[in-house]
């Protein structure tokens, strides 16, 4: 899977989790760009991302993510 494919899939997950078809995530998207993305919703988002890519972030990885770009990089690392 290349980075673009990761972003395509991430986009689907974000749209489902926030129930908003208008969301398009980019490298620089952060929680402040999406209205419902609070700390509780973040948990669901991480779980949904993990399950749809079939990966599991380590505890350290999920706490330090700065934006969606970093999330995509971590996903690519896990997918190896």
């Amino acid at each position: 899977m290349n980075k673009q494919e990761v972003f395509d899939k991430l986009n689907e997950v974000f749209r489902d989790v926030f129930d908003d078809e208008d969301i398009t995530v980019t490298e620089n998207t952060t929680a402040s760009d999406i209205e419902d993305w609070d700390s509780l919703e973040h948990i669901n988002l991480i779980v949904a991302v993990e399950r749809s890519f079939g990966i599991k972030f380590t505890m350290g990885e999920t706490t330090g993510l700065k934006n969606v770009g970093e999330m995509a990089d971590k996903i690519l690392e896990h997918l190896g």
Binding site: D16, D19, I43, N44, V47, R51, S52, T58, M59
Partner: protein, 597 residues
């Protein structure tokens, strides 16, 4: 909604929970009941609330929630707070897990010290339950404890009193004893469902340390489904009957083609044994009060020949209705529902054929049609679905099949009478009409939540509320139990109301009046009214007021008070009506055939 029926895709539910909620609320024609649920957590509960909401909405229950602050279950339960008091919960759910056990036995402790620790740990919980039900008259649901995810003493952890597992098992037994002794207290058995899910996955410590979820976020849908089963059962949303296909459902093979001697049932080979276990599972439901019926595409003769095999666990006699013909199954189920006088939405249809399932599920609104899969997953799917979740197992449940059988005989015998009154007299009916009594409280509460048609005000009550009303001297309560020559119908009628002082003297307001449809047109409502009037006169009451609030389902009782000789006092544009009966006037009883008390 299929996405929320077992076996569901938990990942999909987590990911699409917002869209699912939207779609649930967009459904038309759902008569929701609203219930207030306080979640008192010992860990994070946000997703538990969201998932529980989905499964309750799917069962026709619209929840309102109160959520305690993080890990404030003990403080909220013991002392309440303004917000919780104002919320006035119908249900308090205490979400605690092994993470909330503050002290476990140490390996240096003596048996005596461990016993003391056990009592201390247990007492803290019991105090919470008592405080909650005392303060709010609510139902309490409490998690028991899941097994710990590591075993310091290895295999001895379960046997040695110093082991955590041993300690938890003992606590769980004490919780169970309390549940058995208290009818408005229920255990959410996470000990079982965590094991079923896999303790290793359930107790993922990373979700605990990151988010303070005491169970892994991915298993919250399973957890919430199990919890919703209890709540919907308390509020009368269980199913009542099985409609069962036969060929490749109750036995292997097709009896019409293969012949009864060649179908797979009994103990001769693996497939036969598999179907035998399934038949045993179905038959065991009879004792829970679940009604068994057949909807099979077959010549009746062949269907009965299948059941007549000596090694068939299920016999013809186990079924109240057998529809074995070539009509469409949705029609057969509708007909069966009519004969049993229950809604077709209270059936669970079991069929191995996906085309039949699709047809029935599309044609019969509200019916449950589980995706049962291959024969080896039939039991698992039905069992995990929890269609018939048991909250209380009463004598009535155990006899229910007989009652319905008696009803079918009654309706046959009524056809041989020309005069309906003669028929009623021939039934030899005896009623017991008395104030609410402890042994019937759960049945009474169940009826207030289940009865829709013969129900004047559709007031829903928890058992705790019923118990309070029964003790209040300003209330008059009556249950009616009816027996006839075909059998005992159990408690079938419920009435309660309250006195009010006024310038015209004491007025009695009827808050609730309902009757089970299984005793329609027997005169039971008149026998009840006679008793209510007699009690009112004894108390020096001068006037009775009755109310009719129309719903989508209770049209049949629109003229109930008119038939009882009441006078219409007022009626608004929506049909809400108030009726009055002056007790100074002569009242003519409508009861002709029931002998009372």
């Amino acid at each position: 909604m299929q996405e929320l029926e077992y076996p569901f895709d938990a990942d999909l539910i987590i990911r699409k929970k917002k869209a699912l909620k939207r779609r649930l609320l967009e459904r038309e024609g759902v008569n929701y009941i609203t219930k207030k649920i306080a979640i008192l957590g010992g860990s994070t509960t946000n997703d538990i609330k969201l998932m529980l909401e989905l499964f309750l909405l799917n069962n026709g229950i619209k929840p309102e929630f109160y959520e305690s602050e993080y890990n404030k279950y003990y403080e909220d339960a013991m002392f309440g707070n303004e917000e919780l008091d104002a919320f006035a919960p119908d249900i308090c759910f205490i979400h605690t897990t092994t993470r909330n056990i503050l002290e476990y036995p140490g390996v240096q402790m003596t048996g005596k010290q461990i016993d003391a620790l056990l009592t201390e740990t247990y007492s803290k919980f019991e105090a919470c339950w008592k405080a909650l039900s005392g303060r709010y008259s609510c139902t309490v649901i409490q998690n028991n404890f899941e097994m710990p995810y590591y075993r310091l003493l290895g295999n001895s952890d379960s046997t040695d009193p110093r082991g955590r597992l041993n300690f938890i098992n003992r606590l769980n037994l004490m919780f169970a004893e309390y549940a058995n002794a208290n009818e408005t207290f229920f255990i959410n058995d996470i000990n079982y469902i965590s094991a079923e899910y896999g303790i290793k996955k359930w107790a993922d410590p990373s979700d605990w340390y990151r988010y303070k979820y005491a169970l892994s976020v991915v298993c919250i849908p399973d957890f919430a489904y199990n919890l919703a089963r209890i709540i919907k059962a308390i509020y009368g949303k269980n199913k009542k009957a099985f409609a069962l296909d036969m060929d490749n459902t109750l036995w292997g093979g097709i009896v019409g083609d293969d012949g009864p001697e060649n179908i797979k049932i009994g103990h001769e080979d693996a497939e036969s044994e598999l179907f035998t276990e399934f038949q045993q599972y179905i038959k065991a439901h009879k004792d829970l009060g679940v009604l068994l019926t057949v909807a099979s595409k077959n010549d009746e003769e062949n269907a009965l020949a299948g059941l007549a095999r000596p090694d068939s666990t299920l016999k013809q006699d186990d079924f109240l209705v057998i529809k074995a013909n070539w009509d469409n199954k949705d029609r057969n189920i509708a007909q069966t529902a009519k004969e049993l006088n229950i809604g077709s939405d209270s059936f669970v249809f079991v069929d191995d054929n996906p085309a039949e399932r699709a047809l029935v599920s599309n044609q019969v609104p509200g019916i449950s049609v589980p995706e049962v899969g291959a024969p080896e997953t039939y039991i698992e799917t039905l069992d995990r679905s929890g269609f018939f979740e048991v909250t209380h197992l009463s004598g009535d449940d155990i006899k229910r099949g007989d009652m319905y059988k008696a009803n079918i005989e009654r309706s046959k015998s009524s056809q041989s009478f020309e005069n309906y009154d003669d028929y009623l007299k021939s039934l030899d009916m005896h009623a017991q009409i008395k104030p609410f009594a402890p042994m019937y409280m759960s049945r009474i509460a169940e009826l207030t939540n289940k009865s829709n048609q013969f129900n004047l005000t559709t007031k829903r009550c928890s058992q705790a509320e019923i118990e309070n009303i029964a003790q209040d001297p300003r209330y008059i309560t009556r249950y009616g139990k009816l027996e006839d020559k075909f059998g005992d119908n159990g408690v079938v009628a419920v009435m309660f109301g309250h006195e009010e002082d006024s310038t015209e003297g004491v007025i009695f307001h009827i808050d609730l009046w309902l009757m089970s449809c299984r005793v329609l047109k027997r005169g039971m409502e008149y026998a009840m009214m006679d008793e209510v009037i007699a009690e009112c006169k004894k108390r020096g009451i001068s006037k009775i007021k009755g109310y009719y609030y129309p719903t989508a389902k209770n049209k049949m009782v629109k003229d109930f008070y008119a038939a009882q000789g009441y006078e219409l006092l007022r009626e608004d544009a929506n049909g809400n009506a108030e009726w009055g009966l002056d007790l100074a006037l002569e009242h003519v009883s409508g009861n002709t055939a029931i002998e009372v008390n």
